[in-house]
């Protein structure tokens, strides 16, 4: 695995769009480790990530920022701590169309909060389930006194993924400068 000095982690539920999000930003072809999805109770997608997705961007001075996508299935959770160590922040993607997206949010947040506090949440597949209110995510966070940014996005759109990334950076900038 390539470990860069600067890292941004993409985490979240299976099928939420982590691989697509990395593809939209990466300047190299994403090293994806997709396999046939045998867990169709969790998600109906045909393929799913079983290792780590890796993409990267190069800054003006030549330094690289690694974009790491964690596998969505819980049985790969032993990798998450390694990937998150020293990361700039985590972009947590949650699939709104899942039966219990708040449970997913709670599960991933509880884990990734241990590795760093700079987390931005992107809720995807909003149009796939218009009956569930989008406000539930804010309400859930407010009830737990968590003031993390949560935005409603399409992971295939570069501008939407950039919004999450810009929020990660702005949060740090305002906090430390």
């Amino acid at each position: 695995m390539i470990i860069q000095k600067y890292k941004i982690v993409f985490a979240g539920s299976m099928g939420a769009g982590k691989t697509e999000a990395i593809k939209s930003l990466s300047e190299i072809p994403v090293l994806a480790t997709e396999a046939f999805n045998t867990d169709d109770r969790s998600h109906k997608k045909l393929n799913t990530t079983v290792g780590i997705d890796y993409g990267e961007v190069t800054l003006d001075d030549g330094s690289k920022v690694g974009l790491y996508g964690t596998p969505g299935q819980g049985r790969f959770d032993f990798m998450w701590g390694v990937i998150c160590k020293g990361a700039i922040g985590t972009i947590l993607l949650i699939d709104h169309s899942l039966a219990t997206p708040l449970d997913e949010l709670e599960y991933y947040l509880n884990i990734f909060k241990q590795y760093g506090e700079n987390i931005v949440i992107g809720v995807t597949h909003i149009d796939d389930d218009m009956n569930k209110p989008t406000h539930q995510y804010r309400q859930w966070l407010m009830e737990r006194n968590l003031n993390l940014p949560v935005f409603f996005i399409d992971a295939r759109k570069k501008s939407d993924v950039l919004l999450l990334l810009e929020t990660l950076i702005t949060t740090l900038e305002v906090k430390y400068l």
Binding site: Y6, L25, V57, T58, L59, D60, D61, S63, V65, M130, P133, T134, H135, R138, L141, M142, N147, L148, P149, V150, F151, F152, S159, L162, L163, L165, E166, T167, I169, T170, T171, L172, E173, V174, K175, Y176, L177
Partner: protein, 323 residues
Amino acid sequence: MNNQCINIAISGLGLTTSDDLKIRLRKILPTNIGINWTSVSDQNINCILINEQFFENNNIQNIIQNKNIPYLKISKHSEHKESAEDNLLCIPIYDEFTLKNWVNIKLLHKTEIEQSELSQISDDEADDQLEIKEIDFFAALFHHDSRKVILNDHLGTIAIIDHHAHLAWLEATREEYQTDRSIHYTAAVTADFIKVSRKRQFNLENWLFNLIWKNPNLITVPAADKYYRLKFWIQPNELDKKLLLQLSACFISGAEIQHVSDKLNIPVATVQHFVAANLAIHNAELISAKESRFDKTPSDTEQTEEKGILKSFFNKLKNRFKF
């Protein structure tokens, strides 16, 4: 410029055809003329777009003759023998010439006569004459007795909101965040839903925040020496993304308006308007100075050096992604 709104009824047409006609008419009509999309049962209709097959219907004929209003028959004939003079438009529309002609000859001619009876005032003058809205005007939307509320202004319907489900459905042919001090609201009834598009629904807080944000002279603002804290991050519109993220990042920790203005080097009026828009959607609370956490990190030499490294890194990241 005038302060006029036309009530247009569309009847007997499918959703796709109706939406297509609405969008085309909105583009053809001058922007200072508002449109209220309505039904034939509306007592105040100014114009009817009717499926040709239902044109001879007694009810439709009564409305047209009694009210003496312009009408446009919509036909699916393949021969495309359309004519503005004959009030006939064929679909699908390959060329907007007939529709534009009909608007100019029949619709605008008609409304010009009506306009001459009205006093002519500019939009800006009209807006200045109207009182600036209090923050509570918008905040009260969330406590309206009816869970579904329709918002209008002098250009017609803006949106219908559901403050229980935190949703908004917009009038599809208007700009998303366009309004002025003539904005008002009332309980929505089922028939009102013809005026908005149900194809896409918006998060209420995101849409209402951006509506207020995009109209700086709409509401009163809080004092610059007050401290506020945001409850959640509002999703910014694309154009003001950078500024709105910066302001949100400051106020999510609790901050004084003047301090944020100084730190970010932006006009205090902009920061006041940002807080006002958040107060209007119940997303900000007044706090004491000691509760503020913004800009509290101590500055010693070691930290200054670290800050320099961080600042350089953030700038490289921002350059790379063109933030």
